[in-house]
Subunit: 897 residues, 2 copies
């Protein structure tokens, strides 16, 4: 028996999405549960792939099976495809497993030609209707199958309306439409050199092939890439008998959702138009009417539709998106699929469906996605406002720190601080930021930079403080002299209001309305359910008491990463840090360290107090010291300029300044590194300059002792970064253990503390057994681990080649966002296994940015980590993902049994 290539709707069901696509499977399912669906059939997805495998040739036996299926439909309806009486017309639609905008959508009324047209006139009793159907078919078929420009037909149509002096399509007469159809046929002859195909079977074959072709058009390819849909699944083709919503006033068509897709509220949401075809609803020529009106217009049909909606929601146990047509008072269902929804709606629907006992809690937890939650957690730009007005972003940079912000553009940190303190909302716009800008960044609603990647200073600081940020927006030209920036030919001056969306990278040159984060009751309920299922703990990355409190509000169970050097960057500390680095004597250095110890201790006290007994992992200083000093290139230029000024003007003041800058330059030069990411930083710094980490450990332990004395519970976990060889840890840990002991003796209290390490160097993962001899916990630093495992400098890669790599599918996704299972993941798994083989039950966590990425959280669950840590705003997402991972595992275990 030959392969089955075509399934009648009566032969399929909802489980066959792989083979029949989503639309086909749902049409089959609806048919089989007895809903009124016009008969038809589905050509399987395998045919599409065979078409490409054959070098774009239609599979040999396909059209034979299509004929058999058409015959079955003819028989069902008593109509005849291509018949001059009672002709069967069909629609042809694509339908992949996943809904895919960009592919060929629909051809309606296929089968019309001069012969069948007569039959249609006879059958419908309306010449006008028949010619209207005909001209629509010619245009759609020509645009989609024959690749002609739609606008050519539209112009001809508009010209006809103009010549008749009318505005509405409906005012055209049958004769007008007949003339239009003939003009359309002439256009096809002229443009293609061939007559419009009249053989309905040829029309059908060409339409099917057009669907196959559209699988690989540019928009479809881009969409699949963005949504990570594989190229190999292909699309199905649905061929279905036409029903008409435009045969008179007892006809109509509409779309509906079983609940409100924006808010999730449980009522029938939708709209319809009487005497119209589907495209009229979309085209917006006539304004559709809310679905509730249908009850007044035709209660029988309305009641039937409501019953069907309830039945389908109950059947699929999810909110449904439906299309229907009423033909001469009879209701037909044309489509049924799970409805897309906003984040707030997703949460509300999931929670309410549990209350309604429609679904289980486990299902509810799995039905909300990370991006749904993300919408709830940050202010966002009002989509409806933007769409309604056709507002477009003027530029797109990197989505560096999520959330949207609106405010006056300002160009330096001091202005930002001054206006911010005065209660103004400002967006700080810079070429790139540096440590000198931090006070201004903190005062701003949002940050916009022209240069730098997702780990640039601006991005890192913004994420750390939860400030929306668009970074590396390269089409921006900032001119500090005129205090303005130019983009796409438009100039924005200081004080002009702009909007930025750090979740998408979009920049707008106007004030847009924002929707505030909505952490409502439904959200809280959902989060509680997540916590019932997940095995992974969720911690937050937080560098200050404010972030720590924010993290707690979002349900963090501890701090997984407190970056001590972030405290160094604050405006009041940076000068002390510089004094320490540039100290000319031990005494000067000691004095600076002592000052830093005081401020660090008070920072730690604040954090410990906020976390109230929950574990706090504190990473000792990590970046190279030159990050705290001015930029080499800028400083070199400055010295050159001063030198020339001294030569030409002289003057003691300039001379003194030159000497000062020269000394600074010398220091910067001597610390300059060709690849700072792999230079003197992390534990290496601690070995070469042990004073800094000894100071930090004193500050941590003194803060812990002080609070312990006051009765606050404190659990510091001191983390040594960038270890690649066990001996590094051994040396530093031994020194710091004695500092910790000393401080506890001074205070006369015992604090439960631990020393552990980051696993962020490939060699650390490879030798995790050796390292676990000393480390009391591991925290995977997957940012650096990804950099070293791939040999990618993130800053360089994201600007220079990573985008190409993802677009060309060399990498399946951006590996700095989602953990690369094959390489980085392999090392992590090795690290956990070797570490625990050496030290049973070793606590393992992750503190890279991957800790807030759903796919990565799944992976962390899979390899048995104890916790993930992410930025405060990602904590709910991590809780959700951790629960989903646990639930998926449950399913897997059941299947494996």
């Amino acid at each position: 028996m030959s392969e089955k290539r075509v399934y009648l709707f009566s032969e399929g069901d909802a489980s066959m999405r792989d083979l029949l696509g989503g639309k086909g499977a749902n049409l089959s399912e609806m048919s089989n549960i007895g809903l009124p669906v016009p008969p038809g059939f589905t050509i399987t997805t395998a045919q599409c792939m065979e078409y490409y495998a054959n070098g774009r040739q239609m599979p040999a036996e396909l059209m034979g099976q299509v004929r058999t299926a058409v015959e079955a439909v003819e028989k069902d309806l008593g109509k005849s495809f291509g018949g001059s009486t009672n002709p069967l017309l069909v629609s042809v639609r694509s339908g992949a497993k996943f809904s895919m905008p960009g592919m060929m959508d629909t051809i309606l009324n296929l089968g019309l030609n001069p012969d069948t047209l007569k039959g249609l006139i006879q059958e419908s009793g309306s010449e006008r209707f028949a010619y209207d159907a005909y001209r629509r078919f010619i245009m759609m078929f020509s645009a989609v199958v024959l690749d002609l420009e739609k606008s050519v037909f539209e112009h001809a149509f508009d010209a006809k309306k103009k010549s008749r002096g009318i505005k509405l399509d409906t005012d055209l007469t049958a004769q007008d439409l007949k003339e239009v159809a003939n003009e359309f046929l002439a256009i096809v002859q002229k443009e293609t050199g061939n007559p419009f195909p009249t053989d309905p079977w040829k029309q059908l074959e060409l339409a099917i092939e057009a669907v196959f072709k559209s699988w690989n058009n540019d928009r479809a390819i881009v969409y699949r890439r963005t949504e990570r849909i594989p190229d190999e699944i292909g699309t199905a083709v649905n061929v279905q008998a036409m029903v008409f919503g435009n045969l008179g006033d007892d006809c109509g068509t509409g779309v509906a959702f079983t609940r409100d897709p924006s808010t999730g509220e449980n009522y029938l949401y939708g709209e319809y138009l009487m005497n119209a075809q589907g495209e009229d609803v979309v085209a917006g020529v006539r304004t559709p009417v809310p679905i509730s009106e249908l009850e007044k217009q035709n209660k029988a049909v309305y009641d039937e539709f409501v019953a069907i909606c309830n039945r389908l929601e109950g059947h699929y146990k999810d909110m449904q998106d439906l299309e229907f047509t009423i033909e001469k008072g009879r209701l037909f269902m044309l489509q049924c699929r799970t409805g897309k929804r906003t984040g707030p709606a997703a949460v509300r629907i999931a929670v309410e469906m549990v209350t309604e006992k429609l679904i289980e809690k486990e299902v509810a937890v799995q039905r909300v996605t990370a991006s749904h939650l993300d919408q709830l957690l940050h202010p966002r730009i009002d989509d409806v406002y933007v769409t309604d007005r056709g507002i477009k972003a003027v530029a797109r940079g990197l989505a560096a720190s999520p959330g949207a912000a609106v405010g006056k553009a300002v160009f330096d940190a001091d202005t930002a601080l001054r206006l911010g303190d005065a209660g103004e909302k400002v967006i700080l716009v810079r070429d790139e930021t540096n440590p000198d800008d931090v006070h201004g960044m903190l005062a701003a609603q949002g940050i916009l930079t022209a240069r730098g990647g997702k780990t640039s200073h601006a991005a890192v600081v913004a994420r750390g403080f939860g400030i929306p940020c668009v970074a590396g927006c390269e089409s921006l030209h900032v001119d500090l002299r005129t205090r303005s920036f130019t983009v796409d030919g438009q100039t924005i001056h200081e004080g002009d209001i702009i909007s930025v969306d750090g979740s998408t990278g979009d920049v707008f040159l106007q004030q847009l309305p924002l929707i505030a984060p909505d952490v409502s009751g439904h959200f809280g309920t959902l989060m509680e359910w997540c916590d019932e299922y997940r095995r992974l703990d969720v911690r937050a990355n937080a560098d200050n008491p404010r972030d720590a409190r924010q993290a707690l509000e979002f349900g963090a169970q501890g701090i997984g990463l407190c970056r001590t050097e972030h405290m160094f960057f604050e405006a009041d500390r940076l000068p002390i840090v510089r004094d320490m680095i540039l100290a000319k004597s031990d005494a000067q250095r000691e004095a600076a360290l002592l000052k830093l110890e005081v401020v660090q201790q008070s920072d730690f006290e604040g954090i410990f107090e906020a976390m109230d007994g929950k574990p706090v992992t504190i990473r000792l200083i990590d970046p190279p010291l030159h990050e705290f000093l001015p930029n080499l290139v800028e400083l070199s230029k400055e010295v050159t300029e001063l030198q020339i000024a001294v030569n030409s003007l002289g003057g003691d003041a300039i001379k003194a300044l030159l000497e000062e800058k020269r000394a600074l330059l010398q220091a910067v030069e001597s610390m300059h590194e060709s690849n700072p990411m792999m230079g003197l930083r992390g534990v290496r710094l601690s070995i070469v300059f042990p004073g800094i980490v000894a100071m930090q450990t004193r500050a941590i332990m003194a803060a812990a002792c002080k609070l312990t004395k006051r009765g606050v519970k404190v659990h510091p976990e001191i983390m040594i970064p960038l270890v690649g060889h066990v001996n590094e840890l051994k040396v530093v840990q031994t020194q710091l253990e004695s500092v910790a002991t000393e401080v506890q003796e001074e205070w006369g209290v015992k604090v439960p503390y631990m020393f552990g390490t980051m696993i962020e160097i490939p060699r650390a993962a490879l030798t995790a057994d050796e390292i676990a001899e000393f480390a009391q916990f591991f925290s995977f630093g997957t940012n650096d681990l990804t950099q070293m495992t791939f040999g990618y400098s993130r800053d360089d890669a994201e600007g220079k080649f990573l985008k190409d790599y993802v677009e060309q599918k060399i990498l399946p996704y951006n590996v700095f966002e989602t953990i690369d299972r094959g390489g980085v993941g392999q090392l992590m798994r090795m690290g956990v296994e070797k570490g625990r083989a050496q030290r049973a039950g070793l606590k393992c966590g992750i503190c890279g940015e991957h800790g807030g990425d759903p796919e990565s959280v799944y992976f962390c669950h899979e390899i048995g980590l104890d916790y993930v840590s992410c930025s405060p705003f990602r904590v709910p997402i991590a809780r959700l993902s951790a629960a989903q991972a646990a639930l998926q595992e449950r399913v897997k275990v059941t299947l494996d049994k």
Copy 2:
């Protein structure tokens, strides 16, 4: 029974080096084969370690066992330790398993005090001799055990000679020496506050402890670190009855080697002095006499000594280093150990001993070390000349490219080229070099830079071309204005002659004689033997025909790494490369690429022709393109200066120059990377700019086709660098395969070529199975693999922390010189195993600098690589190491059976 802590010489043998140290084991062995050795005993190395384990306390039972052993010696000789008649005097010497300069050497005449002195006078019949022995003992003991300054005693001694108006020690009378001894005793009383210890047992105990202490003195620690001798093996202590070479004219002492340690010639080599103690020979007060004179002076003793020498060489089957004393016409052997030798001597001795049937070829091959061979392969500074004149290096930089060079200092490439062309020998001295200097580097005998590490431009280019180079000599201050450099207070002007030693990093401010490499017949024989045993092939890294020929001369079996971009750096190509990079249109870029293709093709023709059918692995372009452009900081300064000049002076010429430089700066800025080592380079570059590698592949294949047509055999192996994900290789290899096919079709010939990849990114090793689906060979790039596995940027690490790491024993050695087995090695092993699991028999090699390091070659053998590749001058060393690895494995296999 209690632990045996002390072994009489009669109780040990040569196999007990671990326990008795080298010296003790050999004294035992000599005793036991019946040679005349003064009786004595050895305190085991375990006592030294116990001493430290006890917190520097002498092991409790030790002195008891020492007493028993002393009694045995007393009994043997009929003397009495501490006796006032016929007293036993002893020497105390350290003796670790390995010879270790820096530790306490010797205390002679121990046991003397006013009592035993009388006995000694009586026994020797010479008051003068006895007091001489006494004053020597007091001084040695005071300096070594009591930690007093030797110079205090020497001053007193010199004052005595002055007061007597004499010059030679031997002119002092017994009375003089008695007075000296008393003065010495007074000095001890004054300096220590205590009298000199008179109890011989106390003297002995203190001396033994002093040996233990010297195990951990600074010099010993540094030596162990340099020679990679473990800290945990401890030293033994040898206590031996004194014999005296200074009891009269029938007495004497000397040292000898059984063959000439400089040349390896087979004759008795050594010198001696009559009526003298050992230290007199060393002190150089009297000039020793060649050993051949002894035959005339005392034929019986001479013949006995020659017989002993022959016996010992035959016994140990190696050249021996001997110490002897003649006491009243009787010969005593005091020491016997394997003699140190120069490289040429090592090779000659090994080869001749095989001819003499003293040893097997396998032994000969294992007896020559890599550093022996290295001495043969490069010009070297004449040690004897330097030592004799007490010449010291004025500075030490990094040993960046081996070999020594002498020439006039010059300060720019053009001068180097001009003088070089005129036949002058020059050393190019620069702060650091860049691509613009290459023509001058090639014209120089040697290169000296003040900045940059072992992978700096200077170092890499110098090694590539086999030019001696000292890099990063930081105490050098180059002043281009005055065309001079200053170091350690001395100034050298252009034209002054200096010498540099790229094997040690030493810099000398004078002309030194060089010894030319000596690749004699013995060397050739040894290399042939190596080839009989080794399993690993040895290839060379060579970037041009000259190096290829050099490599062949040294026995390379192919080229393992030809760095195509090195050809780009040559003076006539760099402008074309810049044109290509800065091209404003595709046409300009194409034109530049075409020019490059022509020169690259002719380079490849030269290399293929030189290699005559041997495989040639060619790596496609690897470095980031900005390496071919000017430095960002310098260029920024230049533009700033020009900007100011334009502002103040104006002028069209300067304006035009400013515009030009500005455009260049913009290009440099846009290509700037924060971590270029992990940026847009290697295969990433090939994906983003496919034109360059397509050009290179065309050049390679066209060269191969052209030579094939001429009947030359050619085996190109085209290597794609920096692959981290199989898809990178897939994309690039597919493109290049079609280029290769195209070129072959154009020429109408088939060339046997392969495409393969470097394994130099951790992820490549981790996913080697996937990569081997496409790669037809692997070559481990261990330079980069080490950088990424450790997260070390070599350039930064070597200057900033790697030295500290090795000194503090955080790393056992410099991992850029020797493969880190634990991490990098683990990845290599994984890479080989996974690669071959996917593709049986996959050819695997190494082309990092580790390929010429003996330890690393052993490791490559161990993990089953097919070949190692190294710089031409390291080829013989790799051949030797490969043979040694195979022979060691043989031993291991035998032992395992």
